[in-house]
């Protein structure tokens, strides 16, 4: 399990609080990409760090840098034999954005549950929807949770309840913790505490963490050994990946402590937009804001922002997602609010104040993809 020495070091003052990653941004210092935190840019200094990494062959298992990092293969290692199914939130990444991988790789059915509260799954949601052992059924063998999900934090209490439920019924637990870092920084709960509830955890280093590539699978020795074999099967056996591992470790150490600031800016952005009348669709717990802009045209807003060097995702709908990370500063946030405000005033948009509409908006459409 990963230890949270980073937050400890941060608290001890070993990492300066006002670390500004923007000064390392070589390419376009005045350009802000809020389509996703995968847009975190590679900085020049990263290549010097990569240079100092080990250069051994990871398939032969003798690269010390990479042996500490693994790729996301948790679910496949937990699902041993069909018939079986995975229970997860209907909005989760594994359900919507992984090309049907659960069915394809593991021949597993998916029980996609729409959470009652619209934000996170409760133990009751899980209990009512899990598939029982029966000759007709593909019983639930894994409960997969995601934290953060759409930037929202799943409360620890709920995770613990689901954990107990799973254990009682001999069900395994997987965490898609791509952004668990954000959850941890926001709640103060260590990665270790989260990790203890799960059989496998997947954490991403290429999103808010800012490394160029990569994700880690964490689990028991046996599980990770199996996962390594599966990784080779998937074509993930890469050679001199030490440089990628080294830079990932560096980023974890330097970027994670900046997340509270990113979260503060996100909340500032959300409240700024809300004051203008724009609807915020989900709680703003960490680094994402989901907005609904009717009657303002989303494309119009996106274009106006583009002229000011700010990129947001947009399509024909009125829903979008704004994602912040350590390379987005206060400047950008203020600009967005300013541009939105100017647009609203110029066009004379009037926003309805009724909140009853928000709960049924489908945010899954707000996922970025290839711009054609």
């Amino acid at each position: 399990m990963l230890r949270t020495t980073t937050s400890q070091r941060f608290k001890n003052g070993l990492i300066p609080r006002n670390i500004s990653s923007r000064r390392f941004l070589a390419s376009r210092p005045d350009f802000y990409d809020l389509t996703s935190d995968t847009a975190t840019e590679v900085t020049d200094d990263m290549f010097d760090i990569m240079r100092s990494a080990s250069r051994k062959d990871d398939v032969f298992g003798n690269d010390p840098s990479v042996n500490e990092l693994e790729h996301h293969l948790g679910l496949r290692s937990l699902l041993t034999q069909p018939p079986h199914s995975v229970l997860c939130d209907a909005q989760s990444h594994i359900n919507l954005y992984e090309c049907g991988g659960l069915a394809y790789h593991s021949q597993a059915s998916v029980t996609a549950v729409a959470s009652t509260n619209g934000v996170y799954l409760t133990a009751e949601d899980v209990d009512t929807n899990r598939v029982l052992e029966d000759v007709h059924n593909a019983s639930t063998k894994v409960i997969a949770l995601e934290n953060t999900l759409n930037g929202t934090i799943m409360p620890m209490k709920e995770m613990q309840n689901i954990h107990s439920l799973a254990r009682k019924n001999n069900i395994k637990l997987h965490l898609d913790g791509a952004r668990i870092w954000n959850a941890s920084q926001a709640t103060g709960i260590s990665l270790e505490e989260y990790g203890q509830l799960f059989d496998t955890v997947s954490v991403c280093v290429s999103k808010g963490i800012g490394a160029p590539i990569g994700s880690l699978l964490v689990g028991s020795n046996d599980l990770v050994k199996k996962a390594r074999h599966l990784r080779k099967l998937m074509g993930g056996g890469w050679r001199q990946a030490g440089l990628l591992a080294k830079i990932a470790q560096h980023c974890i150490g330097t970027v994670v402590p900046t997340m509270p600031e990113t979260h503060r800016l996100t909340k500032k952005l959300a409240s700024g937009l809300e004051q203008l009348g724009i609807r915020i669709l989900l709680p703003v717990d960490t680094n994402m804001v989901f907005i609904e802009t009717t009657p303002m045209d989303m494309k119009e807003l996106a274009n106006a922002l583009k002229e000011r060097n700010i990129l947001i995702s947009s399509d024909d709908s009125s829903v979008t997602r704004l994602v912040l990370h350590h390379q987005i500063d206060e400047n950008a946030v203020d600009k967005i609010v300013q541009v939105a405000s100017d647009l609203i005033n110029t066009k004379g948009y009037i926003f309805s104040r009724s909140s009853s509409k928000t709960s049924n908006v489908d945010v899954s459409k707000a996922y970025p993809s290839i711009q054609h």
């Binding site: 240079r51 250069r55 398939v59 160029p212 074509g235 993930g236 050679r239 001199q240 440089l243």
Partner: protein, 411 residues
Amino acid sequence: MTFTGKTLMRLTTLRMMPVRRSFSTTGASRLYIQNNLNNDQTHPSLQADPNAKVYDFRSDTVTAPTDEMFDVMKAASRGDDVFQEDRSVKELEEYMANLCGHEAALFCASGTMTNQLGLRTHLSNPPHSVVCDARSHVFLWEAGGIAFHSRASVSPVICRNGIHVTADEIEGNLIEADIHTAPTRVVSLENTLSGLVMPIDEIRKISELARSRGLAMHLDGARLWNAHIQSGVPMHEYGAQFDSMSLCLSKGVGAPVGSILVGDHTFIDRARHLRKLFGGGWRQVGPLAAVAKHCIENVVPTMPETHKLAKYLSDQLTSMGIQLQVPVHTNMVLIDTASVGLDVQEDLIPTLLRKNIVIGGQRNKSRIVLHHQVDRKGVDTLIEGVREAITARRAAEPEQQQQQQVAASLY
């Protein structure tokens, strides 16, 4: 001919005749699959001295990044490849597509990925099967990928000449459509295979055959670079025979990570989607693409030297009495040490590790692989080590013979 003449001729012939045959003809060598699988490469118990320079002859995948490469990486673009927004990746993919005479290319994390994606994209409708050489990487070393990813059966062909499969052999192993069968859908070749170059004429024959039957042609060209350098056949000429090719960048070419799949636009679009499914969609990978292109341009031209060095090594080893499993065409020397009484794990590996040389293999068989970061000194040290091991074994033999005599007398 005069008596003197005949004597002279006989003497000359005797001098010219090798002391031992150069190619092992034991029945076991034909079952190449069996021996190849016993190629343990991990040596958990013995390690070379990590502080001194280590020569690793187990594979050309061990080519390590140089300091200079990090400067190349720094200068690359840093866009997101999942959204197809990275310039350096596009440059590499276009370069490779043009080089191979294909429409498009896809940069992936490994040769296993490009091979399996290539095959998977051809194999859309089970029941279906793939025909290939029984020694193929796609069949033996990709963790059962063909069955797993594509639900396809495999018809592995044991080639009679020990070098490459022929069009006749492929034809003889094609499975026709029938209610009982998984008909052949893809012919998958490998070039080089165990360092052996497959002749372009044979490839052309097989390609013609396949196309006349409506079958797809895929090439595992992980080391096609070596074949191209050795044969002089242009890359696009190879490319014309196949619907898809997989070429590796992290082996002899020397890049840290990566492999390329080439094919037409529709094919590559589909492969890209499948790549995401496999978990192969990577983000800011421009640096890896840029350094791969750099390596192609700078390292591939050094391959003739590497091939010469491999030839030199094999000549030295055979002169000691060691046999070759197969001829040396490019950068690999596959040895059989039965004739000199050496067990690779027991005798050869420990001796070589003491000299900071790492090789793989089991029982009497080992595969020695050279690449551009192996110099003459390394090769000479290896040769020295082998000589020492042989001497040590010969010294131990009288003892053993005595023991055997004692045992025999007891019986």
